[in-house]
Amino acid sequence: MGHQDLGVELKRIFPPERVLTSELERRMYSYDSSFMARFHSFVPDAVVLPRSTQEVSALMKLASQRRIPVIPRGAGSGETCGCLAVRGGIVVDLSAWDAIEEVDVANMQVFARPGVVHYKLNEHLAGFGLFFPPDPGSTRMCTVGGMVANNSSGLRAVKYGTTEQYVLGLEVVLPDGQVIQTGGSNNCRALKNVSGLNLTKLFVGSEGVLGIITRIRLRVWPRPKARGMAMAVFSELEQAPAAVLDVYQSGILPSGIEILDTSAIQAINMYKPEINLPSAEAILIFEVDGNPAGVAWEGQQIAEIVGRRAVSVEWATDPARMADLWRGRSVVAVAAARLRPDGSRIFAGEDISVPLSRVTEALRRIKELSRKHDVAVVNYGHIGDGNIHTAPVINLDSSAEVQRANALVDDIHRLAIAMGGSTTGEHGVGAVRNQYTMDEHGEAALVMKQLKETLDPLNIMNPGKLLPPEGGKDRA
């Protein structure tokens, strides 16, 4: 079926302005933030922008009839090709369907459509003294639907965990067009519900391979009244994870613990000289939140405990200074490209997760790998839960560098598995890491496949993602 024919069929379901079929428009849905998308052109056959569950259901029925792949997409800020039409098909841009339908203050929950942007949800919730705790670095653009589909987390996962802990229920359109409610029936507002198999958890992090999430019921928390931040500078990398352990053992659970290595410090200073970080082997940023008295006490404790290992500790209470420190950290991901004038920071091998006890070792070994493959990297991450972000910086014009980067990334992924960790702590599998799914999960990966076949026998829901590819290594 040609694009025009498909367009005609889709326009029976959607108003014409919400069906995109021209080549140029479709091309603009061929990318996300991944490295792989820079070298492949995954142009969908059509793009639709739904505004109702009925539309999505009708779409899935059409797709089932025609056996066309359907790929859900949020803001397209992902790093795994998760929202791209790697096998053609219809991309469903859910980002414009962004209503916050209800904040149920009495029941501490919120109902939203998948397109709502994370920071906008929290801005809205702030008006009720509430918040949705997971805090990805992409808060300004990522959608809550995308967060649920990828089980995202971020800077404050150390205390608040990941998205899955907050999802109470979902409305999901299954591949055949059937609409189900997970986590209880339509009128369920219970915070606890252990009846039945936990289908909510099945869909959280399923990356769109089982169905399309069209409505989300989230648990929300009281918004903390105060925040404080401590920055500790270390002359030896090893001292940083040791200091984190000291803090935990003193009975304090910070809301965030971030690490920056030498290269990350350099990148931040180049990007925002006014932040003026000292040069060191490592910098740790601790954030504590809660009530003002508790924050002050915990801050003093952390400063004292960490001060035993650090060269210096700065306890910041000035909101402007705190904002600067946090801002520097949250932009290091892209500011990394400043390391060299012709450099681009690539998103590949960027979020491995390792056991807490082996973070130093992992950082050292990543540096060795970087030297081995002659690819510069910037390391930073959520040291509080062993989630390391590695940012390779390369010249995209050089095919030799691209090749070396790919080899480096493969080594980093294998390193993570060998160390008892995971290839991805928060960004997901998509089409860039499914080649490791068997290695990571063994027999369990086959059960995943069976589940997929049961729910999506035609394999039209976001094919080529998350699950081990047929015949091993076939990428997408």
Partner: protein, 403 residues
């Protein structure tokens, strides 16, 4: 000459398509799909540069959906100058997919002051005969033609003398860059600029041979024409031997500051100069009694990073200055953007109008003629009586130099 696409290669290659630009782009906020995002435009420019897509009118249409407000360039964590990339892509498209009408307007008419004055005169006559209203009614003219409102009878350059001496001691000799919009649409603002500068001790010179600053040409892809204009204008000022070049138009000031042809000339933004002079010489200021709010023009706040000076001036002169929400949000004008994409422009504007209403201000001050035009249009459409003026006009009143 501004950089061409090839020269900007390192910049567009750096885009990791993280999508942070989605959070600030006023056009995306209205269109709400990926094709309107800044990263999407950088992506298209990239494809255009590598020849992966051919230059055609569809690409042109996509790239025309940018206000050049620079919100994205400012937000981008990788500091990618998206506005420059869009401008360069438009220049490439203007060569490969030439539009005879645009060429006529931006290259043949807008670059020559006499022809531009003639065009303005013709427009005035059309308006006097009511033909514009008829054209709009019959939809022979696009709705954006209603934006400028009635053109004043006489442009500023026919009212204001070429040299205005300082009142009292001459402290500074400034060249006043009288931009096209101020000249033809807001002669009263121009008169205020000259009167206020003069009362603060400036001798004000308006060189009659000045041409357009070049921004309309740049924005429509006529880079060479823009460059020629900048050369001609800079030579005029160099000959004049002025201590500073000043303009009351945020867009003109930003363009002059960024033109390599102006290197070595001191281009000063009007509000910064006025604040400096007022602080130095503390003249008596009457107070404006009505509540006043301020709208940040993109070409002042984002292009030049100037947000404090105009507010400082307003606090000095207004009893009741109040910040509105989203003061730095684009009003949706973007020069010719409002003409090409009227409905999108109006949707962007609506948010601004709501914020103005919420502020309760009776006067909106700003320092960009196209913003004034756009805000007046929007307020009138909403039946709102709030006045929109140039900041310098309020200053004129408080200095007793009403025009």
């Amino acid at each position: 000459m501004p950089e061409d696409l090839e020269g900007l290669k390192e910049q567009y290659l750096r885009c990791v398509r993280c999508g942070q630009c989605r959070s600030v782009c006023p056009v995306f906020e209205v269109v709400k799909n990926e094709t309107a995002t800044p990263r999407g435009k950088v992506f298209l420019a990239h494809l255009l540069a590598t020849g992966e897509i051919e230059a055609n009118s569809q690409v042109q249409a996509q790239l025309s959906r940018c206000l050049l407000c620079r919100s994205c360039s400012k937000e981008c964590p990788s500091a990618i100058p998206v506005h420059q990339i869009v401008t360069a892509a438009r220049a490439e498209l203007a060569v490969k997919v030439p539009s005879p009408v645009k060429r006529l307007v931006f290259r043949k008419i807008w670059t020559r002051p006499r022809r531009l004055a003639l065009a303005a005169g013709v427009t005035r006559n059309i308006q006097a005969l009511g033909l514009d209203k008829l054209g709009l009614y019959l939809r022979l003219l696009p709705p954006g033609f209603a934006l400028p409102g009635r053109l004043p009878r006489r442009p500023a350059h026919t009212i204001i003398p070429a040299i205005t001496p300082a009142t009292g001691e001459t402290r500074l000799r400034v060249g006043y860059f009288l931009g096209c919009s101020t000249n033809f649409l807001f002669p009263a603002a121009a008169a205020s600029t000259v009167a206020v500068l003069s009362s603060l001790g400036c001798e004000v010179v308006i060189p009659p041979e000045l041409k357009c600053c070049g921004l309309p040409q740049l924005a429509s892809g006529e880079a060479a024409a823009a460059s020629a204009l900048a050369s001609a204008n800079s030579e005029v000022f160099r000959r004049l031997n002025v201590q500073a070049v000043v303009s009351d138009c945020a867009s003109c000031t930003a363009t002059l500051k960024e033109s390599p042809e102006f290197d070595g000339l001191k281009v000063t933004e009007l509000s910064e100069l006025l604040l400096e002079l007022i602080q130095k010489y503390s003249p008596g200021l009457k107070q404006i009694q009505k509540p006043v709010t301020y709208h940040d023009p993109c070409h002042l706040a984002k292009a030049q990073g100037i947000t404090a000076a105009p507010r400082e001036l307003l606090r000095l002169t207004c009893m009741d200055f109040r910040e509105m929400d989203g003061a730095a949000d684009c009003c949706g004008s973007g020069g010719a953007f409002a003409l090409y994409h009227y409905r999108t422009s109006m949707s962007i504007l609506n948010k601004k109008i709501a914020n103005i209403k919420k502020s309760g201000a009776e006067i909106v001050a700003t320092s960009c003629p196209t913003c004034i035009m756009q805000l007046r249009h929007g307020l009138a459409a909403h039946g709102c009586k709030t006045d929109v003026v140039h900041t310098v006009e309020l200053l004129g009143k408080t200095l007793g130099r009403e025009t």
